[in-house]
């Protein structure tokens, strides 16, 4: 068997806390909160709805005749329930969120205001197009900015998230190959790639092969060239890569892949490092998804929604999905859907989702882009890279940074767990940081570095915050190197101690059940 040790193994650790002495179980401002199913009732409601006029039912005899089991709460109870829940979350608004690859930058509130203007928030996607020209204009304006910033030819605005964008790019490549009548079953992906890359390629029916990396953490160009051939559809490269390093050979990689008849897909998750300073189009890529919730500040929302527009080269643009917005000669905006695809965009690979895209995220992203402008966005990349290098150089004496000797990093700094005391791991450092008041960095990714710790501060952090973080990480790292047993019970001050993820996976409980029912099931 292959022993896959890539994920971390949850360790419950030891809890040294004294028992809580309060009646409620609360600790001052740290408030416990039950489930709505435990505090609400099916008869309680926090909304006043006018009584329905009496009519003869037209429900086809399918009127509901059983209860649903949905609890309700009055408005005050609802506000309190969710306010208490919210206070158990870490957030960017609270502090540094140094997750590598996630670009946890400040989410401007102007974005929220703009997105909520009635003309954007309160329009239906299927309204006659002459009644939504302003909304279509927003899509188009953002599209133009993305094309200019990346130096590419076209852009698909439809994908709903980054991974959806990857799928879009890969399907464009597949469609292009079909149009050429070529069957190229292989896609090459570096081992350091984010899992969505090979997953997407496999979903589209490709066979995934690994491209090895050099000792300097970059794609091995020679190995890549040796593997290219008529069976290779293309490569998926992240640049800057997941080790936080710029792929110096990117242009050579693109040239080699094109010469062999393939396409270059670029994972744009790390665009924050180079926006305004480098155009990926100049490096020969054919497609790149852009995570608007990363580089362009749309909020992460506890796990979504995202948005993943894909910029396309001239070679791939004809295959892009529908619908998209087109500026007509008469100055009006038109949505090109299935109806006009035959005439205007005949080689499209098709539709990826209902309606026209994540407009709510487009307004937010465009608001951010217009606020920064071309000069501001360039400064964003510079400050992001500066902050990451500052962290790298301030920590490389206490944590091993495998690529620190070969030059600067880009917007994120990568460390390994080399040098920690026996029995201590990256997981312990992460949990220790929680007690220090920071969300941990990305851990155990990329897979190519043992116990990887990937730190991305972003440009919206002050030097004072960085200094505090550096101090905290130095302290926790030192404790891990010395084998401080107390680290094993971290976090001790968070709303919960370490949680039993093994139990959750062995005996999944995915919904709430009434006590009697739950017992009967056992």
């Amino acid at each position: 068997m292959t022993i896959n040790q890539s994920g971390w193994r949850p360790e419950m650790g030891v809890s040294n806390d004294e028992p809580v002495a309060t009646y409620t179980g609360n600790r001052a401002l740290m408030l416990e909160e039950a489930l709505i199913f435990e505090i609400g009732t099916t008869d309680t409601t926090g909304v006043d709805i006018a009584p329905a006029p009496k009519v003869a039912s037209r429900l086809g005899g399918l009127d509901r005749n059983t209860g649903i089991g949905l609890p309700g709460l009055s408005e005050p109870e609802t506000v309190r329930h969710y306010t208490r829940l919210s206070r158990q979350n870490y957030a960017i608004d609270l502090g540094l969120f140094p997750l590598g690859s996630c670009t946890m930058k400040h989410n401007p509130r102007l974005n929220e205001k703009v997105a909520r203007m009635a003309g954007f928030a309160d329009v239906h996607p299927l309204q006659p197009q002459e009644t939504v020209q302003g909304a279509l204009a927003v899509i188009q304006e953002l599209a133009v900015w993305l094309i200019e910033l990346t130096g590419m030819y076209g852009v698909a605005m439809a994908p709903k998230a980054g991974a959806h964008g990857e799928l879009c790019g890969i399907l464009c490549i597949k469609a292009a190959l079909e149009a050429r009548g070529e069957d190229r079953p292989v896609i090459l992906v570096p081992e350091s790639a984010h899992g969505t890359n090979p997953a997407t390629a496999a979903f589209a029916g490709f066979r995934v092969e690994n491209i090895p990396a050099t000792a300097e953490g970059r794609v091995d160009l020679a190995a890549l060239k040796a593997r290219l051939g008529p069976d290779v559809a293309g490569v998926m490269i992240t640049n800057p890569n997941t080790c936080g390093l710029f792929e110096r050979d990117m242009k050579a990689i693109s040239d080699a892949v094109h010469a062999a008849g393939g396409y270059v897909y670029c994972d744009g998750a790390n665009f924050n490092a180079i926006v305004g300073r480098v155009r990926p189009g100049d490096l020969g890529i054919d497609a790149m998804h852009i995570n608007l919730h990363k580089t362009f500040s749309t909020p992460h929302g506890g796990g979504g929604p995202g948005s993943g527009p894909v910029v396309l080269s001239e070679a791939l643009a004809p295959f892009g999905p529908i619908p998209f917005v087109s500026l007509m000669k008469d100055g009006t905006y038109k949505l090109v859907e299935e109806e006009s695809a035959g005439e205007l965009h005949p080689q499209t690979f098709g539709r990826m989702a209902a309606f026209h895209g994540q407009i709510g995220m487009f307004t937010r992203a465009l608001s951010y882009i217009l606020s920064h402008g071309a000069d501001g966005l360039r400064q964003v990349a510079e400050d992001a890279v500066l902050n990451a290098n500052y962290i790298l150089r301030s920590l490389e004496d206490v944590l091993e940074a495998p690529f620190a000797a070969s030059g600067p990093c880009m917007h994120e700094a990568l460390f390994s767990d080399n040098g920690l005391a026996e029995g201590f791991s990256t997981l312990d450092i992460a949990k220790g940081l929680i007690d220090e008041g920071f969300h941990p960095m990305t851990v155990y990714f990329p897979l190519v570095v043992h116990g990887a710790m990937l730190v991305e501060p972003t440009e919206t952090e002050s030097k004072a915050t960085l200094d505090q973080f550096i101090g905290a990480l130095r302290s926790v790292a030192r404790r891990a190197r010395q084998g401080d047993a107390a680290l094993k019970s971290a976090p001790r001050f968070a709303p919960r101690h370490r949680l039993d993820e093994t139990l959750a996976a062995r005996k999944p409980v995915l919904v709430w059940k009434e006590a009697e029912l739950a017992q009967a099931a056992e």
């Binding site: 086809g60 919210s86 608004d93 910033l149 899992g195 309606f355 400064q379 600067p408 995915l510």
Partner: protein, 452 residues
């Protein structure tokens, strides 16, 4: 620049710590030919908040907002009143600016909310389990078809003609690349759904039957017989709910035998937003839980024995399974799921049933009033809050004419099915709790004029 805290003093000091002379030293790995020496020409420089706001206000004013006009559009996205509380809570920084709960000790707010959300969705749909949401209803629908293929190890799906054409289009796009066969058909302007066609199509090669409930023309039909026949042949029944408020008035697909129920949650808590972001709902029977795509939140305990919640069954997901992953999604629609859950909590069962009753009553009255207009016939026997009218002439130009008069009068079948001329006189009208008697009168009068 207001979003950048670093001062020039900071920058100099940090460069000194790093040992670099200038910021350009940190970009040394970028080949000279690819380096941009200045901000990209042709793009404007930074702007004040005021200027940006003004820019957007001008664009927003060019759009006809639903609440400012008589509004009757549905077809997969519905205008419902969202209580003010919802928007306030989702803008709390701890929800808005938090991340996927990978460090559960400091994300119990999100995780507990997701557990509540999963339970609400499962109960509404009449299913055992539900996931933490998908991008939207159309991609959830495709993922369900894909899952049915995995479970049954078959590749032929039968799609009802009542399924939203965008959902069909998405499925066709994906099936082209996965090699699945889709049996599809255009709807006909009949009062009955295509249940007979579906029953005839089910055989031992069928992986699933996909039925929208209520369907694109607003028709409601019992799923029991289709479920029974599908099961008899080892196939799954997938029900698609694009208007979940309906489930406050009609029986759930789960109780009628559906194996997987997917849907669009936009109606509850999430505004129209010109088509996105929305929230896909995905629920199924317990025995299929491990085959579900998307994120899952599960209950557990912490080291002190306190109940807590974590993301679980992660090995199904892409970022871990890599090329052996079974689905494409790597996120959920977090904040939209939260909005849905808050609105559902405010409504409660009592509120949802009252809301559904009001929607249906408004729709029944509207259908009566509109079918009294000369040139208008009501197609449906059954409907919840959406029905189809047959006009005496093509509906698409009528919709434009109504818009010019300030009335957003439904979605024409010509817009939904542009290649089906036999449907072109059809107009789909949605009537929610937001529609007033005046709105209905205005629409009736305008239709009368348009059809004269």
């Amino acid at each position: 620049m207001r979003y950048l805290p670093l001062t020039d003093t900071d920058r100099h000091s940090m460069l000194a710590t790093i040992g670099a002379k200038s910021i350009d030293d940190l970009f040394v790995d970028v080949p000279a030919e690819a380096r941009l020496s200045a901000p990209i020409a042709g793009l404007p420089n930074h702007a004040s908040e005021m200027a940006v706001e003004r820019h957007f206000s001008n664009l927003a004013r060019q759009n006809m907002a639903a609440s400012h006009h008589p509004f009757f559009l549905g077809a997969g996205a519905y205008k419902h009143h969202v209580p003010a509380t919802v928007d306030h809570i989702i803008q709390r920084g701890e929800f808005l600016t938090s991340y996927t709960p990978y460090q559960p000790e400091i994300a119990q707010g999100t995780l507990q909310m997701l557990f509540e959300f999963q339970t609400q969705v499962a109960r509404m749909f009449g299913c055992d389990v539900a996931n933490a949401s998908m991008y939207d209803g159309s991609t959830a629908c495709w993922e369900a078809i894909s899952m049915a293929g995995r479970v049954t190890k078959r590749k032929k799906a039968v799609l009802s003609s009542g399924l939203h054409p965008h959902y069909v289009s998405v499925a066709k796009t994906m099936a082209h690349f996965t090699g699945d066969t889709l049996d599809t058909a255009l709807p006909s302007l009949a009062a009955v759904t295509d249940a007979d066609r579906l029953l005839a199509a089910i055989d031992d090669e069928t992986s699933c039957v996909v039925v929208q409930y209520p369907d694109i023309l607003g028709r409601i039909a019992d799923l029991g017989e289709i479920a029974a026949k599908a099961h008899a042949h080892g196939a799954l029944l997938i029900a698609v709910v694009t208007e979940p408020v309906a489930l406050g008035a009609i029986r759930s697909p789960g109780e009628m035998g559906a194996d997987i129920v997917v849907g669009e949650g936009q109606s509850i808590g999430v505004g129209l937003q010109f088509g996105g972001p929305y929230v896909g709902l995905f629920a199924c029977k317990e025995k299929f839980a491990r085959q579900m795509p998307g994120r899952l939140c599960g209950e557990t305990v912490d080291a002190t024995g306190k109940r807590g919640f974590v993301l679980t069954l992660s090995t199904r997901e892409q970022h871990i399974r890599r090329e052996k992953a079974t689905s494409n999604i790597c996120t959920n629609a977090g904040l939209c799921a939260l909005a849905f859950s808050i609105h559902m909590t405010l409504l409660g069962e009592r509120g949802l049933r009252d809301l559904a009753a009001l929607n249906h009553a408004n729709a029944v009255r509207a259908a009566e009033r509109l079918s009294a207009v000369r040139g208008v016939t009501l197609l449906n026997d059954s409907f919840f809050n959406e029905f189809t009218l047959k006009l005496s002439k093509p509906a698409r130009p009528v919709v434009h004419a109504l818009a010019a008069q300030g009335i957003l009068g439904g979605v024409s079948l010509g817009r939904l099915f542009p290649d089906a001329s036999e449907l072109e006189n059809g107009l789909v009208i949605a009537v929610t709790e937001t529609v007033t008697e005046d709105d209905i009168e205005a629409l009736a009068a305008a239709l009368q004029e348009a059809l004269a």
